[in-house]
Amino acid sequence: MRGKKNPFPLSLWPAKNIMKTLMNKKIPNFIFTNQFGLLCLVLVFIAIFSTVTDGFTSRFNIFALSRVIAIDIMIGLAMMVVILTGGLNLALGAIGVSAAMFGGWCMEIMGIPVIPSIILTLSMGAFLGWVNGIITVKTGVHSFIVTLATMSIYFGFMTMLTEAEAFRRLPELFTDFGSAKLFNKYVSPLLLLSVATCFILFYLFRFTDIGRKLIAAGANPEAAELSGISVSTMFIHCHVLSGLLGALAAIMLTTRIGAAIPSMAGQLGMDWLLPAFLAPVIGGTLLSGGKLSVFGTMLGAVLVTLLTNGLYLLDVGEFWIRFFLGIILLFAVLLDKAREYFTLKSVIVS
């Protein structure tokens, strides 16, 4: 069934398109997109968990869930922008932690007020991302290997400079933001921040020339270069953006924990890698680059966090969660290959 319009790979559903199709009663093409499938899956799991476990819909759990989802979305977005180039950013966790510790140092030791410190933290993240970008582009080495090396370099330097000491006395204004509650105590403001970032990125990739160039460079670097796009600059932009979003995710995690702790993203920041891969890949971002879905990544992050929380509540044993996430990642990756195979194999319209 060739839909009237095969949507631009990125868009969830432009408003006018839905209205038009509803009027002439044809199934909107959006039904077939990956994002709709995810939305149904999320709703199904919400239904299951709220019936099977009593604590799921409690105010406390929803609030806690909203915070974890917020951070996982941000981490997913930070990895998505690098997957766009067909590459990977293993140093995402290390960049986030280093930026957050730098921010903690600014706020606690240097006494810099909160807002300038946050700006400094974000620029530190962007700088570390820029370093990844420059090395990858200048040497032509696959970004996986470059970021594998920079992961341990960044984390090592951070730990040496801070002697693995946490910054615990952060200003109240900063730490309260993490536990503030909105919509009569159901949702954390962090979630609003993440959703807002999603819309900003959606606007960037869907409605601006830079965004379109980033996607084109990721899809076919040779063709993009010959069409007047400086592919190396675009790849560096992606890594800078990834570093920035990684720093933002780390700031959100720091407000949540209330302290900037070296081990917040685990050994070498590797704990971030699972959520960072799961959200975009489940969300429909092609691992070979050139196709991404911002809202897909958001829904991917929601689905993963929902599942983890549900498994915790179901007393299935918190230890088996990592196993399930591994299985889901494998299925998502196999699905991703099938999707890529499907798009290229479709029928020829002469």
């Binding site: 631009f8 409605f207 601006t208 379109r212 040779e222 063709a223 010959l226 007047g228 479709s346």
Partner: protein, 502 residues
Amino acid sequence: MNELCLEINSANKSFPGVKALDQANFKLKKGSIHALLGENGAGKSTLIKIITGVHKQDSGLLLINGKEKILNTPNDATKFGISVVHQERNLIRRFSVGENLMLNNLPKTALGLIDYDKIAIQSKKWLEIMDLDIDPNTTVSELTVAKMQLCEIAKALSLKAEILLLDEPTSSLSPQESENLFSLLRKIVRDEGVSIVFVSHKLEEVFNICDEVTVLRDGKNACTSESINNLDRKKLVKLMIGREEQIVKSDRKSDDNKDAILTLTNIKTELGHKDIQLELNRAEIIGLYGLVGAGRTELVKCLIGLEKITAGSVKINGKDVTIDSPKTALEKFKIGYISEDRKKEGLILIHNVLDNTSITIWSQIKRAIGLVTDKMIADKINPYISELEVKTPSIYQLISNLSGGNQQKISVAKWLAAGTDILIIDEPTVGIDIKTKAYLHKLIIELADKGTSIILISSDMPEMISLSDKIIVMKDFQIAGIVENDHSYDSVSAEIMEYIHK
């Protein structure tokens, strides 16, 4: 004696939108050296791919020593005794020569380990046949290109190959090395009973060693197994490119206001070009003609900044400029390049018509904070889509779903939308159906009339003669000669041929 060791009769093969082979046939006599000739797009490479098992023919038979064989993978071809020596070598550069020769059945010692001494002895036998006195333990990467090629032929012999296919074997050999290769080829045909399919664009080599010639043109046989002695250079060239179809008499008035928009003076490039002179006037079409490996595409890629120009000056409207990237070429000097490889360098297959056509104009049409909506783009590109009559259900259709002809129209529309002053078009009509081809020719002429200066690269002689005002003939990365085109096919094509085979 001369029964056929390899026979292909009435093979057809078509790709989306174009028929590559149309009832082509090929007969290789045992113990003979047979030349397979044809210009770009004549179906030569498709036939080679069928012989070597890379592609399967849609219909038609392939017989080896009289028995029909089905080749599903390149491996089957090797099994049935057909070996190939490609341009890009198939040897493992880090292994030793001996190991490369024996890799698929390495001799083992009693313990099942590789016996390198046995390898040396056994491989020595094959190397001697090729007069290669190199120690089998030297690693391949230390050899010269010529020696590597001889090793590859030795490997084919070690695989008990009866039919040896050499694809442009002398493209990176010095004349002296080529001569050595030819004498060896004659020797192995005589002594080893091997038959050789020799694919080359250097006609003097064909006359030097081949017994028979098959020429392909537009997917059909211009001649089949013609013996070499009743052919001379002129007749052969005529077979290769002689098409009597009428030349599109372009009513281009040759106005002689010579304001040069682009001048290249004694250009040398990193890739090996030497003292290139070129002057492109406004609204003029210059043709760059040459055979495969003449360095035309490479020259153009240096011009738009993909590769480095090491010496000489590039002037745009008389001013000295340096173009360091396609981005500067497009944005500062309005130079566009339509690539010959549509699928890899021209278009983004997984994106739709809207994106591919507008990729060059996003930064031009963006509003505040970089805003570029689908509607803005659609308004800008729809006129070009309709003007070029691109058949697509909607502008959101994926490029991979369009036919070859429509894809080529999109890659042209992309640059029309960008509004370039200088447009470089590389092999515009390779693998395009006749109707679209004629349409593209008309379009190129209209473009020039409207003031765009065009550099046309093509190895399609009639296309070149009907379109370009002036034809520059290139050979071995240098300019062999410049032909003023008066659109009379015979005189111009003869003059070009003169330069090609000087």
